[in-house]
C-alpha cells in the first residue's frame, strides 16, 4: 500500500510521478478543420478550484471536460476527467490554457499521442500490486 505512486498531486520541487496511459488520436477532418472530439479545461492561468475533475484543488493541469460521442477521442479511449500530461512529447502540466489548445490543434499534425492519467488507473495499479 505504501508503494503506491504519489498520484497526480504536485509537490513543488519534486518531479511529478503518475501512472499514465498512452492514447493515440487520429484527427478527423471536418471541412477546413481537424478536430479531435473533446474539450479541455484548466491551465496555469485559470482558477483551479473550479475544476470538477481534479482530486487536488490546487492542480492547474489540463483536464478533459467533455468527450463528444463517436468522435476520434472517444474511439481512441479518452475519458472525461482525464488529466493530460503530455502531447506528442510536449509537457502539459505547466502550460496556459491557450498554449495547451495550440499544442493540440497544430494543423500539420494528423495524429496526437497523449499521455493521460486518471484516478482509476492509480487504483488499478495499487490493486494489482496488492493482489
Amino acid at each position: 500500500a505504501g508503494t503506491g505512486g504519489a498520484g497526480t498531486a504536485f509537490v513543488p520541487g519534486q518531479p511529478v510521478t503518475a501512472v499514465v496511459q498512452r492514447i493515440e488520436i487520429h484527427k478527423l477532418r471536418q471541412g477546413d478543420n481537424l478536430i479531435l472530439g473533446f474539450s479541455i479545461g484548466g491551465g496555469i492561468d485559470q482558477d483551479p478550484t473550479q475544476n470538477p475533475f481534479s482530486e487536488d484543488k490546487t492542480d492547474k493541469g489540463i483536464y478533459v471536460t467533455r468527450v463528444t460521442q463517436g468522435g476520434p477521442a472517444e474511439v481512441a479511449g479518452l475519458q472525461i476527467g482525464d488529466k493530460i500530461m503530455q502531447v506528442n512529447g510536449w509537457d502539459m502540466t505547466m502550460v496556459t490554457h491557450d498554449q495547451a489548445r495550440k499544442r493540440l490543434t497544430k494543423r500539420n499534425e494528423e495524429v496526437v499521442r497523449l499521455l493521460v492519467t486518471r484516478q482509476s488507473l492509480q487504483k488499478a495499479v495499487q490493486q494489482s500490486m496488492m493482489s
Partner: protein, 521 residues
C-alpha cells in the same frame, strides 16, 4: 510701416515660386495700407541691426518677377476684400463717431421714471388729501390706523428698495424694438394707478367720506397691489429666463470660432444681447491677418485656361457654359496646392515654436534681473525703483524677442509698446512669474482683454427673419453683424429628459472568479 510688409513677405518666402510672390507682396501692401489708415500709428517699431538685409532681398524678388501676364487674368477675392475693408472701416468710423440722438430711448426712460414717481406718491396722496381737505369732519381713528400707517411706511420702503434693486441699473444695451415685458409692466402699473385714482376721486373725494380708516385701508391696498406688481416684474424680467430651455450655437463667420450657450425663454433681441455679452469674453479676438489661405496656394486654380468658342453664334449662355467648362477642367487637372498648404503650415508652426522658445527664455532671464525690496535689504535710495521704472529697465532685454514673436503670430497690431510696458508693470507689481506675464501673448485672448478703443465695438446689427420681439423657438436663426464679420446664431431646444430610477442594493455587489474556460479541440 513698410517694415511690417517686408517682414511678412520674408516669412512666406520659403517654398514658394517667384510668380506667386507678387501676389503676396501686393496683398501685404494692401494690408499695411489699411492698417495705416486706422491703426498704424501705434505699432511696435523697434529697429534691430540685422533687418535692412531682409528689405533688400524682398524688393529685389519683385523686380525679378517677369510672369506678370498670368496674374492679371485671375479673379482674386483677397485683394478686392482688402480694398473694401479699408473703405468700410473709414465709413463706419464716421458712423460711430457721430452722436446718437435717440429721443425714443430717452422718452422711454423718462416715461418709466414718471410712472414710478406717480405710483410711489399716490398712496401718500391718498392718505394726506383727506387730512388736508376735510380734517374737521374726519372720524378719529386710533390704533388700527397707526398700525396701518406703519405698514404703509414699511411697504413703501420695501417697494423703494426693490425698485432700486431691479430697475435702477445702467441699461446694458439699446434694443431695436420695445422691450415687451417692460412695456407690459408699465401699462399695468399705469392702469392700476389710474383705476385707483378714479375710485378715489369718485368715492372719497366727491363724497367726502368721513371714515378715515377706510381711506387708509384703501391706500394700503394700493401699496399691496404695487408690491405684487413688483413681484410680477421680478418673475417676468429676471426669473423666467434663468431656467435653460435652449442651446444657442454662435459661430463667427470670419474664422469659424464657435461656442454653445444655454439660455432660457428670451426674446430674440434679448438673446442677441446675451450672446454679445458672452462673445466679448469667450471668443478669441478677431484677427483678420489669420484668415485666408496664402494666395500662392489658391491662385493656380483658374489660371492657364483659355476658352475658344468654335463657330457658336448665340452668346446667351456662353458665359456660364465657359465658366463651367473652366471649373470642370480645373477640377480635373491635378494640382498640388494642398501639398503647398501643408508644408507651409508645418513650416509656420515650426517658426512660431522657435520664436516662442526664444521669447520664453528671454522673459525668464529678464525677470531674474529684478526682485522685490525686502525691509532688511540695505540699498541706496537711488537704486530703488517703482514698478514703472523696473518694467522699463527689464523691457529692453526682451523687447526684440517679443516683437519677433508677435510678428510671426500676426498679433502685432494688438499690442503696442506702451501696452506691453503697462502689462509688465502690472505683473511686476503683483509678483507674477514670467509665465503669468506671457499668458497674455502666447494665446489669443478674448476681445475684452484688449484696449477698448480699438477692439470693443458698440454697434452691432441684428438681422433676423422673424420679428425680434418674438420668443426663441427651436430652429430660429439670427445674425449679429459687424462690418467685417458676423455672428450666426442658431437655436436648438434642449431635449426633454426622461429620467427613470433603478435601485441598486449595495449588498448586491458580489464577484466570483471567472469560470474555467473550456475549449473544444
Amino acid at each position: 510701416m513698410d517694415n511690417e510688409s517686408q517682414y511678412s513677405g520674408y516669412s512666406y518666402k520659403s517654398g514658394h515660386s517667384r510668380s506667386s510672390r507678387k501676389h503676396r507682396d501686393r496683398r501685404e501692401r494692401h494690408r499695411s495700407k489699411s492698417r495705416d489708415g486706422t491703426r498704424g500709428d501705434k505699432s511696435v517699431t523697434i529697429q534691430a541691426p540685422g533687418e535692412p538685409l531682409l528689405d533688400n532681398e524682398s524688393t529685389r524678388g519683385d523686380e525679378r518677377d517677369d510672369n506678370w501676364g498670368e496674374t492679371t487674368t485671375v479673379v482674386t477675392g483677397t485683394s478686392e476684400h482688402s480694398i473694401s475693408h479699408d473703405d468700410l472701416t473709414r465709413i463706419t468710423k464716421d458712423m460711430e463717431d457721430s452722436a446718437h440722438l435717440d429721443c425714443s430711448r430717452h422718452l422711454g426712460v423718462a416715461l418709466g421714471v414718471a410712472l414710478a414717481l406717480l405710483a410711489f406718491l399716490t398712496p401718500l396722496a391718498f392718505l394726506l388729501l383727506p387730512q388736508l381737505l376735510w380734517r374737521e369732519e374726519l372720524e378719529p381713528c386710533g390704533t388700527p390706523c397707526e398700525g396701518l400707517f406703519i405698514s404703509v411706511a414699511f411697504k413703501l420702503l420695501i417697494l423703494l428698495l426693490g425698485s432700486w434693486a431691479l430697475f435702477f441699473r445702467r441699461p446694458k444695451a439699446f434694443f431695436p424694438r420695445v422691450f415687451v415685458f417692460r412695456a407690459l409692466l408699465m401699462v399695468l402699473v399705469f392702469l392700476l394707478v389710474v383705476s385707483y385714482w378714479l375710485f378715489y376721486g369718485v368715492r372719497i373725494l366727491d363724497s367726502r367720506d368721513r371714515n378715515y380708516r377706510g381711506v387708509v385701508q384703501f391706500a394700503v391696498s394700493l401699496v399691496d397691489a404695487l408690491l405684487f406688481v413688483h413681484y410680477l416684474a421680478v418673475v417676468l424680467l429676471e426669473l423666467r429666463q434663468l431656467q435653460p430651455q435652449f442651446t444657442l450655437k454662435a459661430v463667427r463667420s470670419a474664422d469659424g470660432a464657435s461656442r454653445f450657450y444655454n439660455v432660457g425663454h428670451l426674446s430674440i433681441q434679448r438673446a442677441a444681447v446675451w450672446i454679445l455679452e458672452n462673445y466679448y469674453h469667450d471668443f478669441p479676438v478677431y484677427n483678420p491677418a489669420l484668415l485666408n489661405l496664402p494666395k500662392s496656394v489658391l491662385s493656380k486654380k483658374m489660371s492657364g485656361f483659355k476658352v475658344y468658342s468654335l463657330g457658336e453664334e448665340n452668346s446667351t449662355n456662353n458665359s456660364t457654359g465657359q465658366s463651367r467648362a473652366v471649373i470642370a477642367a480645373a477640377a480635373r487637372r491635378r494640382d498640388n496646392s494642398h501639398n503647398e498648404f501643408y508644408y507651409e503650415e508645418a513650416e509656420h508652426e515650426r517658426r512660431v515654436r522657435k520664436r516662442r522658445a526664444r521669447l520664453v527664455v528671454a522673459v525668464e532671464e529678464a525677470f531674474t534681473h529684478i526682485k522685490r525690496l525686502q525691509e532688511e535689504d540695505q540699498k541706496n535710495p537711488r537704486e530703488i525703483m517703482d514698478p514703472r521704472e523696473a518694467a522699463q529697465a527689464i523691457f529692453a532685454s526682451m523687447a526684440r524677442a517679443m516683437q519677433k514673436y508677435l510678428r510671426t503670430t500676426k498679433q502685432q497690431p494688438y499690442h503696442t509698446m506702451e501696452s506691453i510696458l503697462q502689462h509688465l508693470e502690472f505683473c511686476i507689481t503683483h509678483d507674477m512669474t514670467p509665465k503669468a506675464f506671457l499668458e497674455r501673448y502666447l494665446t489669443a485672448g478674448p476681445t475684452i482683454q484688449y484696449h477698448k478703443d480699438r477692439w470693443l465695438a458698440k454697434q452691432w446689427t441684428l438681422v433676423s427673419e422673424e420679428p425680434v420681439t418674438n420668443g426663441l423657438k427651436d430652429g430660429v436663426v439670427f445674425v449679429l453683424k459687424r462690418q467685417d464679420f458676423s455672428l450666426v446664431v442658431s437655436t436648438k431646444k434642449i431635449p426633454f429628459f426622461k429620467l427613470s430610477e433603478e435601485f441598486v442594493d449595495p449588498k448586491s455587489h458580489k464577484f466570483i472568479m471567472r469560470l474555467q474556460s473550456e475549449t473544444s479541440v
